[in-house]
Structure formats: structure tokens, C-alpha cells
């Protein structure tokens, strides 16, 4: 990572602050992620990790702070209200794809239609090209034969893999994962994590919120441990998960790795 210092990092986050009502959920978040790396956000529920992730694609709007992905950057303190602000938000959002905890597939569309909706309708790419790319992606996530199925006809793991294909079809600079396995039955978790691991290995830049510690230590180039709206500890997975320095991180890991 250090050899790219002359080039700016793919993801740049500085001083994010966000409140819900009078509850402050982010109290100054700073981090960067280089192109092709996987960043994992860990932390107890309510720590603010999902809010950080959702700030990266402006599903949440922080009061202040900066988020930059590649050459699009928003300074939230200066974000204009109304239409102009929404247009800026949309530009930043277009830099990423997102995989949701509860997949949020469009139930009235087939698997293929779900995947090509963004490329064809939003990005105005030719339909044949989008279908071809979608077929390849579905093949890659192991669902090459389910293109014409409706989401309700798939298992939870299959649905989540369609969600991943849908996000990748946008050819985003960054792929965001919001607890992609939390809503799945335990026996379905593995197939989804395997797909995400492959992506990371292929060089996609990813940011992942997860509770799967073992998975995190395998996939992460960088681990951020959040608590109370701040980053408590930041480093490689070997540092943060293997040898945490902070008491709060240690307590969390113990609880998660050895419940009960």
C-alpha cells in the first residue's frame, strides 16, 4: 500500500460525524483503503459500522466529514440542500455497488432482470451486452442455470449471491457488503462467504461489515474495529484480530469467538 502514496487512495474518509436525533452515532471517522483491498468493519451492534458503510454511498447523509471514492468526493458540511445535493449524492453512489443484509432483490423481476436492471436502465448500456455480462456473473456466483427464476424460488444463500451479481454488474469502483450473511441460515453462510473471498482475490475493492471473525481474518487487508462511533483500533487482520492492543477489542472478540 505504501508504494501508492503518490496516487490517492481509492476510498478516503475523513472526519465523518452523524447523529440520529440527539444520539451521536459517528464521532469522527477517518480511514483510507487502497485499490484492490478488502476493508472489514467490526464492532458491537450500535457501534456505527453500518452507518459508516451506508455513508459511503450516501444512503445516510452525515452532518460533516468527507467521503471520496476515486475522483468523486463529497464534503458533507458543504453539501447543498435539495436537488443539487441529491445529484451529488447520486454521483458518489454510482461509484459503488451494495449487497444488503436482506438481499433486497426486486421480487417482481427474474434473477437475470434483477442483474441487468442497473446496467440497462441506469447506465444505459446495450441490453445484449448487459445480458451477456450478467450471464457470466451468474455463472461466477454459481447460478448460471437460475437466470429465469424469481427470487422467491431461490434459497437465502442463492438470493444473496444474486444480490452480489447485481452489485458487480454495475462495474463499481467499490463493492459494499452490509452484514451479507447475518440473515442466512448457518448452513448457507459458507457459499456466500466463498463468493466474497473470490472477489477479494480477484482484485475488487471491498468494504465489508460482518460478524464472521474467521472470514474477516482470511479476507481482510485492513480491519477497523468500531465502538461508540469511533474507530478504536485499525490495522491488518493479524494485528487487530490476532493481537489486539485495546481492551475493548479484546472483549468483543472473546464474546464473538466464544459465545456463552
Amino acid at each position: 500500500m505504501t508504494e501508492q502514496n503518490t496516487e490517492q487512495a481509492r476510498i478516503r474518509v475523513r472526519g465523518l460525524e452523524k447523529s440520529f436525533g440527539d444520539r451521536k452515532v459517528l464521532r469522527g471517522i477517518d480511514f483510507e483503503a487502497a485499490k484492490g483491498t478488502s476493508t472489514v468493519l467490526l464492532g458491537p451492534s450500535g457501534s456505527g459500522k453500518t452507518t459508516v458503510l451506508r455513508s459511503l454511498n450516501v444512503l445516510e447523509t452525515p452532518e460533516s466529514g468527507v467521503v471520496g471514492i476515486d475522483d468523486v468526493e463529497i464534503d458533507f458540511a458543504r453539501l447543498p440542500a435539495g436537488k443539487a445535493g441529491r445529484r451529488e449524492g447520486a454521483r458518489l453512489r454510482a461509484q459503488s455497488g451494495m449487497v444488503f443484509q436482506s438481499h433486497n432483490l426486486f421480487p417482481h423481476m427474474t434473477v437475470l432482470e434483477n442483474v441487468i436492471e442497473g446496467p440497462v436502465v441506469a447506465q444505459k448500456r446495450p441490453r445484449e451486452e448487459a445480458v451477456e455480462a450478467a450471464a457470466a456473473l451468474l455463472e461466477q456466483v454459481g447460478l448460471g442455470d437460475r437466470a429465469d427464476a424469481y427470487p422467491f424460488q431461490l434459497s437465502g444463500g442463492q438470493q444473496q449471491r444474486v444480490g452480489i451479481a447485481r452489485a458487480l454488474a454495475l462495474k463499481p469502483r467499490v463493492v459494499l457488503f452490509d452484514e451479507p450473511t447475518s440473515a442466512l441460515d448457518p448452513e448457507l453462510v459458507g457459499e456466500v462467504l466463498a463468493v466474497i473471498k473470490d472477489l477479494a482475490a480477484e482484485g475488487w475493492t471491498t468494504v465489508i461489515v460482518t460478524h464472521e471473525i474467521r472470514f474477516a481474518s482470511q479476507v481482510a487487508d485492513q480491519v477497523l474495529f468500531l465502538d461508540g462511533g469511533v474507530i478504536v483500533e485499525k490495522g491488518t487482520s493479524a494485528q487487530v484480530i490476532g493481537d489486539p492492543t485495546e481492551e475493548r477489542t479484546r472483549r468483543f472478540l472473546t464474546r464473538v469467538l466464544d459465545p456463552g
Partner: protein, 492 residues
Amino acid sequence: MRHVLRGVVLFLLMVIASPSQASAAPAQDAGRPVVRVGTEGTYPPFSFHDPGTQELTGYDIEVVKAIAAKAGWKLEFVETQWDAIFPALDARRIDVIANQVSRNDERQAKYGLSDTYTYSRGVVVRRVGDDSVKSLADLKGKTTAQSSTSNWAKVARDAGANVEAVEGFAQAAALLAQGRVDAIVNDNIAVLDYLASTGSKDVEIAANAGEEGSEQVLAFRKDDNALIDQANQAITALKADGTLAGISRKYFKADVSVPDGGSADLSEGRGHRSTWDVLRTTAWPMFVGLVKVTIPLTALSFAIGLVLALLVALARISSSKALSGVARAFISIIRGTPLLLQLFIVFYGLPQIGLKFPPFTAAVIAFSLNVAGYAAEVVRSAILAVPKGQFEAAATIGLDYSHTLRRIVLPQAARTAVPPLSNTLLSLLKDTSLGSVVLLTELFRESQLAAAESNEFLALYAFAGLYYWVICVGLSAAQKRLETRLDRYVAT
């Protein structure tokens, strides 16, 4: 249910298919001034539809046609219920009323009245043998049935009667025969003609209503001097050459175009027709009213109403306080006032501020606004029922507001909205019958016309009901299909 429906449809088809002629519009020369004639079309023998040919005919119709021939007018008949006929003249939907308009001071002041073409006298009608009604004076404290704005209503009121407003003499006679009112005040000619044509043995003439006879005239707008002059010249000429007397004798066996025309000899009345015969000749016009007016009116109003409803619903959901306030007020007004009133405001009210629409357009406006008011809430809650995650997913794949709405939200909202919207559609179909009061000759109006002329209220209204019911059952079946289709992507 299905068997019953099939039987009913077969029955309807059978009745329609039995011989009857549809009317053809009479061709007229171009280049003459077009004069629109308002007339009831349900008031035999003055203005009614010939049961055989369905053509508008009658004493007043023939008189006004004779006048037009002399004056060089091109006529266009607009059939209007009596209570709506003067407002229609005021609103310039018609140019003249040919419908036994009696001369009185009020009308003389407000309208341009022609010379007299008919002289008649008032009579009191009672149930056969009801000795409590022997004279006009006996009406004090009794109830009579009258067209509320007719001259006879005033005579009855002056005699101390409570007046029930009805539409036309046939309805009044039915109410009297059923014992719902005690008497009717009307002119002798209409009463004798009713007795002769229906063969009714339930009502009879009890007495003269006052000493004075009345004079019937054409009513124009006050400032239409050219038309009034032409009409008066024509009437004078037609009296001189015996044309008016001829028309009069054809209908009344007496000359009512002069003040002392004598009593009518109606012994050879037009004869009573069987219920089956009436149904057979009315089934086709009702079907035409259904296909040409009721269904297009319903379809168009519903389509426009849905688009408006969507806009209102979006405004209601919008974060703009002004927009959502306007939407809320619109919904509240539409749901808080009667549909009939909304229809009257559009048809009779708006012309007073310069917004005049033809009847069909006016009805489409009123009905689609009404649909919008009701459907907006349905659409709004259906949109709000789509999970927030769907909006977020649409945003993350880059869809803008209108694509999100059209491609993601509305298809899912449709599932929730179809059953309540189907109810709105069924209500609308039936509510279009209100179009009958704004000059629309739709299904219900056709049955009214036929019932007034034949006295077959039960048979004709039941028959019209069958038409409505069949369409509603069809729509319900379509709704089921649509629901099944929309459910295809949901686990069952």
C-alpha cells in the same frame, strides 16, 4: 354463479337480437343556422321516442320542426330532464326549449318567449274513486307529485299542497297509483294522453285546476331576438296555413293551437303495449347506451382518474409541505362532498365562469376527479407498503426517482392496490348512471326514457340492472385474473 351469469348473458343477447330498429340521425342541409332544441324526450305525446323506430317525435317536436322549416333553421335535439332544461338554456347548451313551456311572469321576465302555439287548461288528477280530492281547494295539506320547476308545481303549492319533485308525468302517475302521493296537477292534454297510451285504470281527472288556461310557448334566451322574431313569424304563418291545427289534430283529435279548441277525443289512443314488447324494443337502445356511453365513460374516467390519483398520492407523500397540503385538501374535498354535487358543479357551475364542456367531457372531468380523490389514498398506502429496502436497492443500482417509481415501486404497489382499486372501478361503473342528469343518454337514461313512455318501471329498471350486473361480474373476473398474474412472483 357462473351458470347464472351465462343464463343472464344469453337472455340479454336474446332480447337484444329480437327485431327492433335503431334510429338514424336525420340528414340536414348545411349552411343553415344550427338551433339546439332542449326537450325532455320522455313526455308523450309532446316529446318522446317512437316505440317502433326509437326516433324522437311528438307534438312539440313536430311543431318545432315545422317552425324550423319555415324559419330556415337546422335543428339539433338535446334531450334533457325538465329540471335541468332552463339551466341548460342559461348555460348555452341549448338555444330553445320546446317542451310545453307555459307562459308566466317569472319566465316572461327572464327569458325570450315566443307567441303561443298551444292552449291548455290545468286539471287535478286523483286515484280512481278518491273522494277526498274533488277540487283544487281539496289539495290543501295533501301531497302532490310535480316536476319541481313546472307551472303546475306552483299551482299546487298555491293551493296549499306539499309538492314532491318528480321527473315527468309518468313517474308522478306511478307515485299516485301506488298511493305515495294524493294528487297531481297537470294539463288536461298530457293527462288524457297518458290515460289513453298506458291504459291505466288507476288514476282519473277529478276537476279543473283553476279558471285560467295556460299558454305554451317556445323559450329562448332573452337576448336572442333574431331567433324569437323568426319563430313568431313562422308560428303566425303556420297558424294561417293550418299546419299547426293539423299537427294538433294528429295528436289530440282537437285543435289546441287556438284558445277554445274544445275537448279532446282520445278514444283511439295509441294503444297499450305488452311488457315483453317494451323490453324488446328497449333492449337495443339500452345496449347502445351501455356500449357507446356507459363503458367509454367508465374506462376513460378510470384511466384519467388513476393517473391523477398517482400524482395526488405522490404529492401527498412528498416532503414539500405545500404540495402535500394541496393534495390533502383535494382528497378531503372530493371525499367530503357528494358525487352528484361535483358533477353539477362541473356541468352547471363552471359555465358561469366561462368553462363550458360538452356533457361527456364534463362527466369525464367530474368522474375522474372523483376517482382521483378516492384512489389517491389507496395508491399512497400501496406505495408506502413497499419495503424501504426496495427504494434503497433501486438507489444503489443508480435508478432515478421516476425509474424507481415506474420499474420498482409501482409494480409491487399494484399487488396491494388492485383489490381496492377494483372496488373503485365497480363503483364508478354504477355511478356513471348519474350522467343521466347531465344530458348523457347512457344506459340508465335509456331505461328512464323507455319507462316514462311505457310505464314499465319494474321491468325496465330490472333489465338495466342486469346489464350493470353482468358488466360488474365480468370486471370481477378480470380482477381475479389480474391478481393471479400479479401474484406470480410471490411464494404461495
